[in-house]
């Protein structure tokens, strides 16, 4: 070999790394891997969000420290975080149920509004008398919220089942329609003195708060967490039972995993599509009812800073596990609560977007392993 040739070879090798990156399909996924990957995705997302924050002139460390303190720093803010988490658990569950059957219900936002509208209608039209007991009033509100939400899920479910209309777009369009409809009632029917809100509900329509028991237990003074949280947790347990312990849940999961096999097994996909969308809508509607009864105590505009959309991310982050939805929703509740004061205003939404992106991108690590192999020395 002449020196010239050797030099040529050397130059062609110069750009080769001393190791090789190989991507191989995984045959089995260790149990610990999925949570680790999700955690890694969230951390990466927060780092990226911090970078963008720094780029637009904010201080990411300060911002994150502020979020942590303003969301979980003391009992008072923790209670506020739980208030924000309550609707998020319910919308997260709504998305979980639908996504489990691979039904893309993007309409939890609209169903949430319809639930709020339904609960308000029974109070504001005097359908339940003002002197009715709290138990009766709240029960009727709950039924109304659930029914309105379920109806708003029924429409796209029926269109999908009967007419094969894409549910992603119908549920989304119904969001806009629900918000306009609610606005009509707020501005045009129940507006009080020209303000963009109805009058305050009578006390019997308020969900009990922790603060209501401050007389007996002084530590609860000023805590805003309300009974809706109980609804949310009970709902999570019910959804968990339905999905993983009932025949219906088995059908839902089978359709989601393999619709053709489900059809051969004699499962009625048409009926399940409608039912699951209604179930999903009912959960989101319950969220709207709980927000109206537990927090704002009247119908007003912009009751949701996108709870329905955040529910999508929560469901995905919880890997469609109804019980895991609860802690994830608490984390996002903190992000939304603390994020209100962070400038620029789009930051919480941006971080949510990055988290979701990182999550689905990181799934590839569950399916493939990336191995770094030392390049075999060749002479």
């Amino acid at each position: 070999m002449t020196s010239n040739e050797a030099e040529k070879q050397g130059s062609s090798r110069r750009f080769q790394l001393p190791f090789q990156i190989r991507v191989e399909p995984r045959l089995e996924v260790p149990r610990w891997l999925s949570p680790v990957v999700s955690l890694g995705a969230i951390i990466t997302a927060l780092l990226l969000g911090g970078l963008i924050l720094a780029f637009v002139g904010g201080n990411p460390f300060q911002a994150y420290a502020h979020i942590a303190k303003a969301a979980f720093g003391n009992l008072g803010v923790l209670s506020d975080t739980l208030v924000k988490a309550t609707p998020l658990i319910l919308t997260g569950l709504a998305c979980t149920v639908a996504f489990r059957m691979k039904l893309w219900n993007i309409g939890a936002e609209g169903q949430f509004y319809m639930g709020a509208l339904g609960a308000s209608i029974v109070v504001l039209t005097g359908l339940v008398p003002e002197d009715a007991s709290r138990f009766v009033t709240v029960s009727v509100m709950l039924i109304a919220g659930v029914v309105f939400g379920a109806f708003w899920g029924f429409i796209p479910g029926w269109l999908k089942a009967r007419l094969k209309v894409n549910e992603i777009i119908t549920t989304l369009m119904l969001n806009y329609i629900a918000i306009s409809l609610t606005n009509y009632f707020i501005f045009g029917v129940w507006s009080e003195g020209g303000f963009q809100m109805s009058h305050t509900f009578q006390r019997s329509a308020w969900l009990p708060r922790l603060a209501d028991f401050a007389e007996q237990m002084p530590i609860l003074r000023g805590l805003t967490t309300h009974f809706g949280l109980v609804f949310a947790i009970v709902a999570a347990v019910i959804v968990g039972y339905v999905l993983y312990r009932s025949i219906w849940g088995y059908e839902i999961r089978l359709i989601g995993d393999n619709p053709r096999a489900a059809e051969y097994a004699g499962i009625n996909i048409t009926r399940n599509t409608v039912l699951v969308m209604m179930f999903s809508g009912a959960l989101a509607g319950l969220g709207g009812m709980s927000e109206i009864g537990g927090v704002v105590h009247r119908l007003q505009a912009a009751i949701s800073p996108g709870y329905g959309f955040t529910g999508i991310i929560i469901a995905w982050l919880a890997k469609l596990n109804p019980i895991v939805v609860i802690p994830v929703a608490v984390l996002f509740g903190g992000l939304i609560l603390a994020g209100r004061e962070i400038q620029p205003a789009g930051i919480p939404r941006l971080i949510q977007g990055i988290i979701l992106f990182m999550l689905i991108a990181s799934d590839v690590l569950l399916r493939y392993r990336i191995r770094i192999v030392r390049r075999a020395e060749r002479v």
């Binding site: 094969k164 939404r349 941006l350 991108a361």
Partner: protein, 322 residues
């Protein structure tokens, strides 16, 4: 309530939908569903406005819009094509990301001041055609004319060129296309990027020509989602997309105009005397999208003409395909 004015404005507004819809048709024909239109359009609108305010040059603004939205779309491409993630969820993530990013970067932009709008032209001979002239060729923005050119061009490209054949092959049967020697991944990236560029153009058209300015999320106001609905109505055909887009544009204008006059068809105009009924008018574009979808789905069912067969499915080399 002058029909000429409504149709004239409808064509202008419809141009926004047209760009977004045709862009999405390209991506979906290649088998990639991109639900992130709303986010990409918003990024486009924000970048176009910001750059135009900075440089005073609308052309640069449009370029920035196309580039920004195009880059965003490549993110969707990476996640769905290489990482084989679910296209629906990735598209939603793209929406969140695009909306959040444009709100953050567009902070304070709404008070950035006035810009010179993109020029409007009247075409000498064509504008004297009765009826059509005043609607289509009189004092329309340059973007509207670009739209006119884009319709036949994209139709011809998809249906009558070799590249269009490749595009359709990748979306209908990627396994066969791969065996033919096409690079599926590269083609899918390309058309996702094309979709992003056109979505950016749509956004730029809003903020520089149709309703100039930056009004955060209200700038697009759900038009991205309407465009996704229109793709299904259009059955992935640019001509039908054009019809749907212009019709929706006209509908939006009608909704604005119907609240103006005191009397309508010789009757008292309820929308004038009770402005709150306007909320029902606001629902109309979204309700119509649902109706249009029902029509589109039924038509597709009847003609056995559906979505590209591989739409929404990741392509994995070496695995058995369809």
């Amino acid at each position: 309530m002058d029909p000429i004015i409504i149709l004239h404005a409808g064509v202008a507004t419809g141009t926004v939908l047209l760009f977004a819809t045709i862009g999405e048709i390209f991506a979906e024909r290649a088998g990639v569903l991109n639900l992130g239109l709303e986010g990409m359009m918003l990024i486009g609108a924000m970048s176009a406005f910001a750059i135009t305010v900075q440089t005073g040059n609308g052309g640069l603004g449009l370029l920035a819009a196309m580039l920004a939205a195009g880059i965003l779309s490549l993110l969707h491409g990476l996640v769905t094509i290489h990482f084989q993630a679910d296209q629906v969820v990735s598209g939603l993530a793209l929406t969140f990301l695009g909306v959040g990013l444009s709100l953050v970067l567009g902070e304070g932009l709404s008070s950035a001041g006035a810009i010179a709008l993109l020029p409007k032209y009247t075409v000498p001979v064509l504008s004297s055609i009765p009826l059509l002239g005043p609607i289509l060729f009189t004092k329309q923005s340059v973007m509207v004319y670009i739209g006119y050119i884009l319709i036949p061009l994209s139709w011809f490209y998809i249906n009558h060129t070799r590249f269009g054949l490749h595009l359709r092959a990748v979306g209908e049967n990627p396994t066969a296309a791969d065996a033919m020697g096409l690079n599926i991944y590269r083609l899918r990236y390309t058309y996702v990027f094309v979709g992003g560029i056109l979505a950016g153009l749509a956004g730029g058209t809003i903020s520089l020509a149709i309703s100039p300015g930056w009004f955060s999320e209200l700038t697009t106001g759900g038009m991205g989602w309407i465009a996704i609905g229109l793709v299904i109505f259009a059955q992935w055909n640019p001509w039908r997309a054009a019809f749907g887009s212009y019709a929706f544009g006209a509908l939006r204008r009608t909704i604005l105009d119907i609240q103006g006059p005191q009397m309508i068809f010789g009757l008292r105009n309820p929308f004038f005397f009770n402005p709150y009924y306007g909320f029902f008018l606001q629902m109309l574009p979204f309700a119509f999208t649902i109706i249009v979808l029902i029509i589109g789905s039924r038509g597709a069912l009847r003609k056995r003409l559906g979505a590209p067969a591989a739409l929404g499915l990741p392509y994995i080399r070496g695995e058995r395909g369809l």
